[in-house]
């Protein structure tokens, strides 16, 4: 298998401004070419688009609108982890030798049909994600004594981190108290515990070890990949204090990269809701089980940016098909030392966690400089 690296990325501002999904994709793709002076459209062998939008043939449309005529072009849809699934598909094309250069672009709009999985009959009348996140919260509260104030620290930390992320949807901080007092949606969930659906796009360029030095001097290598699909229906998740797909995909990613949780310098976690970050910290092995709540308080008190340095989904917004790509770009920038005010000193190894539909599936990527 060929070694696969990441060259650069591009991200549009996450907003509620109505822009066509095609325009969003091309705006992010433009940044790839702006950031890679030696890259021309004819170099790109593969164009993959990541979205839950109902628009058809988007990989071909965005290729044509960007002047590319790739060998391979198609879309990838997998709800909230479409972005990292798309990156893994690009990795597979390159590592297998079918391609040398792959461009992955993801985009979503506020009214995405991917926000609610209507198919899931097991959710009954409670199809909206606020209900499954409330169930995870109930279970974690009971077993580990996690509090709603612990959850508020997740939001406060991620909103503060997002202030240094130029494309973030939110441009103001929220205190623990403001989050606690925000509109209650359920017993366990307030409005500011939730990520915000928005319009946005992100694109990333991958290349084989054979050609990557033509396009950048500081490639970031994809060394670990883990993916697991437990089910599609929420109620197959046996233990509601854990995300089984996350545990299994993390195990595979650590094994492939020969790394362990202790080696991770920077991590992007899928905080669709604040409880998710707490459970994921534990299931990725970054903290012992049951200590996610106390850990997020320490992150906030010490202004430690190790977790969700760009502000996560809660701080930056959640344009589904773009999210996993934006997470991956953040870890790349951290490992390249190009994260500006968000920079984690000396970061060498990073992790991306992206999941879908109550963690019925998860993707974990490990990157190294």
């Amino acid at each position: 298998m060929k070694k696969v690296g990441i060259v650069t990325g591009g991200i549009t501002k996450f907003t509620k401004t109505d822009i066509s999904i095609e325009s969003l994709l091309v705006s992010a793709i433009k940044q790839i070419f702006d950031n890679s002076s030696n890259l021309s459209q004819k170099d790109v062998d593969v164009v993959l688009t990541s979205t839950n939008a109902n628009n058809k043939y988007l990989a071909n449309i965005s290729s044509e609108l960007s002047g590319m005529a790739p060998k391979i072009a198609h879309s990838v849809e997998s709800l909230c982890n479409s972005g990292t699934n798309c990156i893994v598909s690009a990795y597979a094309y390159i590592s297998s030798g079918l391609a040398d250069v792959a461009l992955v672009a993801g985009a979503e709009k506020t009214d995405s049909p991917g926000l609610v999985l209507d198919w899931d009959k097991s959710r009954g009348q409670y199809k909206h994600p606020i209900y499954w996140s409330s169930m995870f919260t109930s279970a974690h509260k009971r077993k580990f004594g996690t509090t709603l104030e612990d959850l508020a620290y997740v939001g406060a930390n991620n909103h503060r981190n997002a202030l240094d992320t130029p494309y973030a949807y939110f441009e103001k901080p929220f205190s623990v108290e403001e989050i606690m007092e925000s509109k209650p949606l359920t017993e366990n969930l307030r409005l500011l515990d939730c990520s915000m659906p928005c319009n946005g796009s992100a694109a990333i360029l991958l290349a084989s070890e054979n050609v990557i030095k033509n396009f950048c001097e500081q490639p970031i290598w994809m060394t670990g990949i883990g993916q697991k699909a437990i089910s599609a229906s929420f109620t197959k998740n046996d233990d509601l204090t854990s995300m089984k797909s996350t545990i299994l995909s993390a195990s595979d990613a650590y094994k492939m990269s020969k790394k362990a949780a202790e080696d991770i310098d920077a991590a992007e976690l899928h905080d669709a809701f604040s409880i998710c970050e707490i459970i994921e910290l534990e299931d990725l092995g970054l903290v012992p089980k049951g200590e996610g709540g106390s850990y997020v308080r320490r992150l906030y008190d010490t202004k430690d940016r190790k977790i969700n340095p760009r502000g996560g989904l809660i701080g930056t917004g959640h344009p589904l098909g773009a999210t996993g790509i934006a997470q991956t770009i953040e870890i790349c920038q951290q490992l390249q030392g190009k994260a500006g005010k968000r920079q984690i000193d000396g970061a060498k190894t990073g992790l991306i966690h992206n999941m879908s539909a109550a963690a019925t599936s998860s993707t974990v990527l490990i990157l190294e400089s």
């Binding site: 959710r123 169930m135 009971r142 109620t235």
Partner: protein, 107 residues
Amino acid sequence: MNKFEQELRNGNFVCGECSKCNKLVWPPSDLCNNCFNNVKWRPISKIAKLVEFSSKNDEYFCIAEFENQIRVMGKVENILNLHVGQTLTLVKCGFDGKEIFVFELAD
């Protein structure tokens, strides 16, 4: 519309059981997800175990488990103190574009 949805509209909660390997197939499907044989539709017990719950305003919603394997989310009525592991009775089910399951505490 499949048999599951037809029956649910009539207030009956049914599930497919494989005609060959006898597996209960959930979520509902015409084919067994173990051996791909056809399923026979049969009523599900009205007794369930409370797996987890939360509330919105004054309304409780829960995950309930039937026959030690089939889990659904539904509404819980007429209960003041809920505890995980309690036995529930399915008192109403239906379909209005979404599947509706309503539970009460079993006697």
